[in-house]
Symmetry: C3
Subunit: 266 residues, 3 copies
């Protein structure tokens, strides 16, 4: 098998083992740590204001996830994000549940306003709410976009000058000019908690060694999706699916991305 | 297979996908999220005072679990519980470790005093302590009732005007007048951490779509117990048992409850 | 098979089921709870200042882990540790990430200064930093000792009057005079998050029923390592390895330690 731009990033992550610093929620944090390892990264989690700048000071990439947020945690994210910006390492933001409560919407917008985010990753409802395009978010799973997701994401990417990615049956990655669609994945990914958080950690890992956020983010969706397809083929239910999802990502040849990724231009 | 009152609730949960809002501990929170999905619900977790009322305002049911509590978290539970009461959605309370420390006992009693709880679910020791019937709780697993568990539970249900349920080899569900015993389950459920928390999430899911808390809670114990029986048959040890427990609940036909549930009147 | 000093401790833990009280991080806390059960202990987690002394007052052993620390949590650890010292129950310290940030280094040293720790367990980098021997810690996985790990550990054990243990390809346990090396384990243990935290919980469990910390800690490394060897033989990847690791520890005959443990004197 031969390499392409996507598979090279995956191979590179395995080789360089980027330090992926997470400030994240306590629901799926263990999954984030383990999926980072499966993708080739080294995870670290820390949220005390006393150490977040120092941790961001040694990290290769910062992943912010507001799944179980509180105002103190958002302050810690801003501190860590400022250091990440100063060091010019990428910042990934997963605005879990933005739209479900004002605290979540406002906190996500505050981070977008005060930190230079590299990649924003949400579901169609969250992205739509943050784009000011309407939409609805009920809890952290159920949601509805306020417009065509590709258009909403593209407009938000242009407005903010960031890469916007939308997870869904077809994943979307756009920098406002180039928009890629990824058709890997499996419906069983919705049968377990945390696949959204996990893919953000894979996005973090790949961005930790690449300076091309659109390509790295697309590669992450494809790799995670292919692992999901393969896991679904051997699963007896959601939890054996989850076990197999981690196993298949960890055991995947990076070259697989050059043959099995279903990536197209929008 | 034919439906009965128990299997109908399970089938209904799968159809309506209730939003099950948890304020819970950080030890078993991921298991609670995943078992909720397996039972047919949509889990959401949040504990910041700034958003708990709003989250309770969109939820179908509220599950409170004091497994890793602190006074601020109890305040958040009271806030969320008040909104749940205002909206007349059910509130499930799992008083983890009540009796082991004063903070846990007093916090559980405070919630019972200030919030209209729909279903209280504990082990025999916890329920006995909260009933003022004596008993002993050592940590969060080991415990001893201060009297006959059925009598203690029934008296507490009458006193508080709530449904009281007791997990154990035989599970007990009582509203003070009608008392049901559920004989499903397997000893391996004690070999993993969090089965008590998990069944509370299943109870939450079923109460999220039913207005009959005794029936819904009984159905939850039966469904979870049957999944445990089936998982034990294929497990190599506690962690493969845990994987199979989730898988079997998720893959279970709701109609199974009408044929395999071992429910009797006390 | 016959018993030896190591296998007797494992058998004894299964019989007596020590209450292993953890103040730990929210990343691997569920794994710590479950591995404690697999090793024969009963886990309990609590961190509110209002209850930590009471919980330490009923526990058989205290495990402190600074994986996701903050100053308030360290205060809770000091409170719980003081009660543990007063009751003369063992205290295990896992200084996760010491050396990676000042908060972690200073917090670990503060605990070592203010609490009589029984067993310190870290990787070579963490132990080296805490010994003042230099070394480097990047995140929580990657690290480098500032000197020969056996010498560094032995010197620190003498200086502090504690048992020091170092996890690695060869694990080290020393009281400053007697030093034991354990050669069980498998490279796959590095492919999942939290094996360091997990072995600390096994160390806690075995110290919870033994007054010989060097022997108990050595037995813990051996039992956990043997489970890892067996799990690796059946795993398809890191997450099925993790499942099998728990299963094999739980299903292991304690006598296995007398035949499969690879323990030698340094």
């Amino acid at each position: 098998m031969k390499q392409n731009a996507y598979s090279e990033i995956f191979a590179d992550a395995r080789k360089k083992r980027p330090l992926v610093y997470h400030i994240t929620n306590y629901v799926t944090v263990n999954d984030c740590a383990n999926i980072t390892l499966c993708a080739g990264g080294a995870p670290v989690m820390a949220d005390a204001p006393e150490e977040v700048e120092e941790m961001a000071g040694i990290a290769d990439v910062l992943v912010l996830n507001i799944g179980t947020l509180n105002p103190g945690l958002i302050d810690a994210m801003i501190l860590a994000g400022s250091m990440a910006n100063e060091r010019k390492i990428p910042v990934i933001l997963d605005p879990v549940g933005a739209g479900a409560t004002r605290l979540r919407t406002q906190s996500a917008l505050k981070i977008l306003d005060e930190i230079k985010v590299t990649v924003l990753k949400g579901n169609a409802g969250e992205i739509s709410v943050l784009a000011g395009a309407g939409g609805e978010v009920r809890g952290v799973d159920s949601h509805r976009s306020g417009g065509d997701p590709v258009t909403v994401a593209r407009d938000l990417a242009r407005l903010r000058g960031i890469v916007v990615s939308v997870s869904g049956q077809t994943d979307i990655v756009t920098d406002g000019t180039n928009t890629l669609l990824i058709d890997n994945g499996h419906a069983m990914m919705g049968s377990i908690s945390g696949t959204g958080c996990m893919v953000a950690s894979v996005i973090g890992t790949f961005n930790g060694i690449s300076h091309k956020p659109t390509v790295a983010t697309t590669a992450a969706f494809a790799a995670f999706g292919i692992a999901g397809e393969r896991a679904a083929a051997v699963a007896n239910g959601p939890m054996s699916f989850k076990t197999a999802l981690f196993d298949h990502l960890a055991e995947m040849d990076p070259e697989t991305l050059s043959t099995c990724a279903k990536i197209s231009k929008a």
